[in-house]
Amino acid sequence: MAVEERDPHSGFMTTGHEWSGIKELNTPVPRAVYFFLIATFVFSLGYWLLMPTWPTGASFTKGLLGADDRKSIARSLEQAEQARAWSKKIESADFAAIQADPALMTIVRQSGRTLFGDNCAVCHGIDAKGSKGFPDLTAASTLWGGTPEALMETIRVGINSGHGESRSAQMLAFGRDGMIPRADVENVTAFVQSLSAAPGSIDKARVEAGKAIYAVNCAACHGDEGKGNAELGAPDLTDKAWIYGGDTQSIFNSVWHGRQGQMPAWENRLSPVDRKILALYLADLRKPRP
């Protein structure tokens, strides 16, 4: 037997049941609830009429608006293609012509930055300044050449990448493999360091001793002056840009253990236009700015 009672606070009756001291009011459902139930149902009804919604066995109701995700994505792709009509121009024009065209170069800077950020920045950094083990692409000298042509080729085939035409280079492990004794490694380290260091800051005797070692072992790739050779991917040793560090210990390590850095080939991952934009973007980045 249910015993309804009036709740003194709200004035409503209870349902008369009680569970562990909990009672329930028999309050009618507020009108707003019915209103919104009906409103959302009417909205849904409209949506069902206009949009593809209900399955009908093998097919589904198409909706009065004829909305179709497949068609709309095709349309979007078409529009995107049109918006990038300039890509034809970049594809066909040569580097010099593009570089002379300010409108095209604006596009190169905009698209190139995003392309670089999504594909290259993981190693070279968003500002292309690299970090230890990853070259600074804005530095004056490059391993394989800084012209747009050379850059585009490096991007295409990579370095020590496994690509059939990959650029390949190796700094030999002169110390570890016993090609020159430890003392000579130390001397040549001093010589190499002296090439970019302030005059007189490195022990003269060592530099002198290292010079001869250098001429015999290193000059073939890095050149008599230490200016490097882009044909061989040998870095310039006279500037301040160091991939693996320019302090004594780092240079010693490079000579002792050798180096063989890698960069992946992008031929199968980026379209020719995208690679061209990246090459132009980097060449532009490398231009000295006032």
């Binding site: 569970w19 919604t53 968003i126």
Partner: protein, 548 residues
């Protein structure tokens, strides 16, 4: 614990544990060289260890028939303690993951500590470890009192709780070894899933048996929700985990579904796990503890009915909104949109019913942090269900999908609603269970409340900001028609929000630790003042008359 079992129950327990140990031994042998072998060993240790405990206590005197005059609350006590332990584990790992996104080196170069492995430890720890234990524990408490019936036996509640925690342990340790089905919130592999089915079906039967013994003519609202939670989670779990293992000695299995069907099944599961695990179960909790603590009648019985059936019916259709703009056919997506929109009405009706119940008790909300936990939970429930329906609309989803906005939304629900209502319920129930007048320190409940609220708000706001910025950056084009930002740019932009998020999570974790201390001190006080407190359980009204 063993002394509370009757002799036939001890015998049955021994049989089950020996079977478990044998099953574990089988897996250990078959799974040599595979991570499943480690789990076999864990089953073996659990079974054998349990069997030894039962044997050790086998000859203890049987509980007398006077036990039937009491509610059986020992399992609830255990469940609440486990819930708090899992809360600390889950929240700690969660905050670790949050800091990991700021400082990637926090994996310490260990495979098991990589993002992909510790993130599911966090989600499983908080959802299943913390939430699940709290739900099971409170459901035992609530169903007995609202039915005026004791649990039908002493063994099955222990089997459910211990078995469930074993499942959680298997799940979490598996992630560290790289075992996963790669299904979000359903990561554990086939053998763990089978174990959970056994546990869960026992839970269901136990619940129905208790309800069948009730001395009230009607089933209280809380029990509808708990029942929906138990029943639907069983269905979801079984269907989504249908899979074929490579062999009995290998952890890896292949799903019965493939491609877009697999995705749809997974998100039918995923969304309804939110609906029936994280919503229905906790609504059951709210419908008991909120009116009890506020000492007010439920605002509207009718609204409870409308919301219950609305929620159970509409939620089932809404899962496809997790797959907008994917290979899922467009009609499935747009059908999901409409049901997600309609779902808002019963959700808000539930939140409204809770808040209107507090009319006449707002002074208590002001003074009592425990009740305030529950009030804020209802508010966050309303907020996050609105947000959910909003984000289910395809055009909104185009911006929000795959961004931190989703993460923020989930945490508005998980921290603001689920955890807050649970803490409220635990603070209400701990003194009742351990026969104390109140918690050890009302001040510390207050401290926990403000830490939890501040943590949640910081978390949710930072993820809203981060998510919307991310979403906009990913879709912004420059005049050349290319995307204006690289993914890396968006990562850089998110960093400050990630720091804020991790700080918010840290506050929430500290709050939980304060809660643990407070609960520990309450229990300790109970034992200090009354050595018999452990075995004394509340006596129901002596004259058990049917409700009316």
């Amino acid at each position: 614990m063993i002394s509370q079992l009757t002799i036939p129950e001890r015998r049955l327990a021994l049989t089950i544990l020996v079977a478990l140990a044998l099953g574990g031994l089988l897996l250990t042998i078959a799974g040599q060289g595979d991570p499943i072998g480690v789990h076999g060993l864990m089953f073996l240790i659990a079974g054998a260890g349990g069997a030894f405990l039962v044997i050790a206590g086998y000859l203890a005197p049987e509980p007398g028939p006077e036990r039937l005059q009491h509610y059986y609350d020992e399992p609830t006590k255990f469940g609440i303690i486990m819930a708090m332990i899992w809360a600390v584990i889950g929240l700690f790992v969660g905050d670790w993951v949050a800091w990991l996104l700021v400082y990637p080196e926090l994996t310490f170069d260990a495979g098991w500590a990589s993002f992909g492995r510790i993130r599911p430890i966090h989600t499983t720890g908080v959802i299943f470890g913390f939430g699940g234990n709290a739900l099971i524990a409170t459901s035992f408490y609530v169903v007995q009192r609202t039915s005026r019936a004791r649990l039908p036996d002493q063994l099955s509640p222990w089997f459910v709780l211990l078995g469930y925690n074993l499942f959680c342990l298997i799940a979490v340790s598996g992630y560290m070894m790289g075992i996963t089905q790669s299904k979000e919130y359903a990561e554990p592999e086939w053998y763990a899933d089978i174990w959970l089915v056994i546990v869960w079906v026992t839970y269901f039967i136990l619940y129905v048996r208790t309800l069948a013994r009730r001395k009230e003519p009607h089933i209280y609202v809380s029990n509808w929700y708990y029942m929906a939670f138990i029943l639907v989670v069983a269905i979801l779990h079984i269907v989504n985990n249908l899979a074929m293992p490579i062999s009995l000695g290998q952890a890896k299995s292949y799903s019965a579904f493939s491609g877009v069907q697999d995705a749809m099944t997974q998100w039918w599961y995923g969304h309804n796990a939110v609906a029936f695990f994280l919503t229905a179960g906790f609504l059951g909790m709210m419908y008991y503890y909120l009116p009890k603590r506020a000492d007010r009648p439920i605002y509207s019985y009718r609204m409870s009915i409308i919301s219950f059936w609305g929620i159970t019916f509409f939620y089932m259709w809404a899962g496809s909104h997790h797959l907008h703009y994917t290979a899922l056919p467009q009609w499935v997506q747009s059908l999901g949109v409409t049901f997600s929109v309609m779902l808002l009405v019963p959700s808000w009706a539930s939140a409204g019913n809770a808040l209107l119940t507090l009319n006449g008790a707002w002074d208590r909300v002001r003074d009592d942090a425990t009740l305030r936990f529950m009030m804020v939970a209802a508010v966050f429930y309303g907020l996050s269900t609105f947000e959910g329906s909003f984000m289910a609309i395809r055009q909104v989803n185009a911006l929000s999908h795959y961004t931190d906005w989703t993460v923020g939304h989930v945490h508005a629900g998980a921290l603001g609603w689920v955890a807050m209502i649970t803490f409220g319920a635990i603070y209400a129930t701990v003194p009742w269970l351990w026969k104390r007048k109140a918690m050890y320190s009302a001040g510390l409940v207050e401290v926990h409340f403000w830490l939890a609220l501040a943590g949640t708000v910081i978390y949710v706001f930072s993820m809203w900001n981060s998510g919307i910025i991310q979403g906009l950056m990913w879709r912004t084009y420059n005049e050349s028609g290319t995307l204006a930002y690289s993914f890396l740019d968006s990562l850089v932009a998110m960093r400050p929000y990630y720091i804020a998020r991790a700080i918010g999570g840290l506050l929430f974790l500290i709050g939980a630790l304060v809660g643990c201390y407070n609960i520990w001190m309450t229990i300790r006080a109970a034992h200090l003042h009354d050595p018999a407190a452990d075995s004394s359980v509340p006596v129901p009204a002596p004259a058990l008359q049917p409700g009316e």
